[in-house]
């Protein structure tokens, strides 16, 4: 059981190297091997979560070098929770997008799944590591894999992928520079060690500069307004098998890394009093919620609309960090899970619609609710949860967030959070209205860039292995909503 922290990223990292080689001889083996690796990692995460709930946080010294000199992997409540969310959502998404992967990667299925595993290895590594520099390495591993995966999305994906690489590298470089400042001020890279040294003495401009640079770098990676410009193009033009995976999990881990800085690197209150990082997160987060929601309302392509909605939801997590009270951190963490699950449900059902009709424009959805009832049921569950209607999961994180804002005297937070629900309703219910209430168009080209009416008329439900993962994610928003008290009291409150 002591080995569990390393067993979370290890199967992914090993299989990332094995899968492309095996697929040279047996292309059919790529998918089952990938699935097995992610399942192994999800199992290790679940076991780690169970162990942490019973016995408290566990630590693993990589290569037998004792921390703080060696690299330490730490799995506490928060890390185990995020790791379970990332791996289990990925598992469902990978099952649901297999057909897209076969279509989009063609004869390069081995390298494709290799990259997917590398991405997840980087993300889970970021979650479990207790070392600032190791976090940078995993950050760059996951980012590199994501650049290459976005690049696979045809002509537009190539340009989006390169621009993502340029901006993502700036983010990584700024983070590394910040770590340098913190290292030269404290002489250590171990998070717990940095914390204890800074608690004794956190004066000095080097630490302040380090904190600002670290948060700027991570802000770029988690697409915090105004550093979000790479995200809409990357999500829209990435292959369907890719954006369904990176939209739910990738930026969430960036947000988790920020939370880690609050919880276990900088002393309590340092990011509020010595450097105004918390205030900046609060203001930028509120701006991001409004900007992301308004931009989402203006979109005619479903994927682009969901991308802007991701910016708004990530901004909400930033608001939680900015308020910084335990209740707000719980709300932010709850939203990490809720948004991962509901965004995965939405992107999976959009991928399913595209599989059947070849289009993802809002205009082309007229009457699709009758043609693809299960897919649109998944979409509806995700949408209802995004808006925040009880008892779906999305309601509870917004509720906690508004409460945290009011408790802290930040009434603007409550106003913006509730307002964002209304704006979410505008852009998502518009989709539902078309899908359920509009008749199937009889004349081709009734809406701009709609698929030929025949495509919708003839569209049947997608195959079971596409629909059921999406539907499972949709149902999970309800289940997680009903279970939220258990999650909050057992997992999150001890963790923050």
């Amino acid at each position: 059981m002591d080995q569990l922290p390393i067993l979370i990223p290890l199967p992914l990292l090993v299989m990332a190297l094995v899968v492309p080689v095996v697929a040279l001889a047996r292309p059919g083996a790529a998918f089952p091997l990938t699935l097995a690796a992610v399942a192994a990692s999800a199992t290790a995460s679940a076991l780690a979560l169970a162990a942490v709930l019973d016995d408290g946080p566990m630590s693993y010294a990589l290569g037998g070098w004792a921390p703080p000199l060696g690299i330490e992997y730490v799995v506490d409540h928060v890390a185990a929770y995020v790791s379970v969310v990332v791996t289990s959502v990925s598992l469902l998404v990978i099952v649901g997008t297999r057909r897209w992967a076969v279509r989009e990667a063609g004869d390069r299925l081995g390298p494709f799944y290799g990259l997917v595993l590398l991405l997840l290895a980087g993300l889970t590594g970021m979650v479990v590591t207790g070392d600032l520099f190791n976090l940078f390495v995993f950050l760059e591993i996951s980012s590199l894999a994501a650049y290459a995966l976005v690049f696979m999305g045809g002509r537009a994906g190539m340009v989006a992928g390169f621009r993502y690489l340029v901006l993502g590298t700036i983010g990584g470089a700024l983070y590394l520079l910040g770590v340098g400042f913190v290292y030269f001020a404290t002489g250590t890279l171990n998070m717990a060690d940095v914390l204890s040294i800074l608690e004794a003495d956190s004066s000095g401009r080097a630490v302040q500069a380090g904190a600002v640079l670290i948060f700027t770098g991570l802000g770029l990676k988690m697409a915090l307004v105004p550093l979000h410009l790479w995200l809409p193009d990357a999500y829209t033009h990435a292959p369907s098998s890719v954006n369904t995976l990176i939209a739910p999990v990738m930026t969430k881990v960036g947000a988790y890394a920020m939370l880690r800085m609050f919880l276990s690197v900088f002393p309590d209150g340092y990011l509020r009093d010595a450097v105004p990082v918390a205030d900046a997160l609060l203001v930028l987060g509120l701006a991001g919620i409004v900007l992301g929601s308004v931009a989402a309302m203006a979109q005619t392509d479903l994927r682009r609309m969901l991308a802007y909605s991701s910016i708004a939801n990530l901004a909400m997590i930033a608001v939680g960090l900015g308020i910084g009270t335990p209740l707000a951190l719980v709300a932010a963490l709850l939203h990490v899970m809720n948004h991962a699950v509901m965004k995965a449900a939405l992107f999976s059902s959009v991928a399913s619609v595209r599989l059947a009709t070849g289009s993802s424009s809002v205009g082309g959805l007229a009457g699709i609710g009758r043609r693809m009832p299960l897919t649109m049921a998944a979409f509806t569950l995700g949408a209802v949860s995004m808006v925040g209607i009880p008892p779906t999961a999305g309601f509870f994180s917004k509720w906690y967030m508004a409460q945290a804002g009011l408790q802290d005297g930040q009434w603007l937070v409550a106003v913006v959070v509730l307002g964002s629900s209304l704006m979410t309703a505008v852009y998502l219910f518009r989709v539902l209205e078309r899908a359920y209430l509009h008749p199937v168009p009889l004349v081709a080209g009734a809406a701009p860039d709609a698929p030929p009416a025949a495509a919708v008329q003839e569209a049947g439900e997608s195959p079971a292995d596409v629909v059921w993962p999406a539907l499972a994610l949709g149902l999970a928003t309800v289940v997680l909503g009903l279970l939220n008290v258990v999650i909050v009291t057992r997992v999150l409150e001890p963790g923050v």
Partner: protein, 123 residues
């Protein structure tokens, strides 16, 4: 002002290189020049770490005599060097991926000019 810059020369050099790199990455239209800017930015950070580990009159952290007492102030801090080895590897990997991207973009679009690429994509 001049003494201030001279006293902390590596930091000013790092700051200048970072600004040059960021300018190249953001303002240049050619994707190759963006990539060059990216490399300048990465080099600046490597320089920053190495400069931070320096110590006047210190040597490499190797014990030459058996049984000699190791005193920390006699040695250059080796850890930033090791970190930068890793950072160089990461940088090379990113540069390699970016160059592969550029080759494919050039094959596909026949240009590496950002404006004309975006125009072609929008059409």
């Amino acid at each position: 002002m001049i003494e201030e810059i001279a006293a902390r020369f590596p930091y000013w050099a790092t700051a200048a290189l970072i600004v040059i790199g960021l300018y190249g990455m953001i303002a240049k239209r050619s994707l190759v020049k963006k990539l060059i800017g990216m490399n300048i930015l990465q080099s600046a950070i490597i320089l920053f770490f190495i400069a931070g580990s320096l110590r006047e009159g210190a040597s490499v952290p190797i014990l030459f005599e058996e049984g000699a007492v190791a005193r920390a102030e006699d040695f250059v801090n080796p850890l930033p060097h090791v970190l930068m080895l890793t950072a160089i590897v990461v940088g090379v990997a990113i540069t390699g991926v970016a160059l592969a991207f550029l080759v494919r973009i050039r094959e596909e679009f026949g240009t590496l000019d950002e404006e004309s690429l975006l125009e072609q994509v929008r059409r």
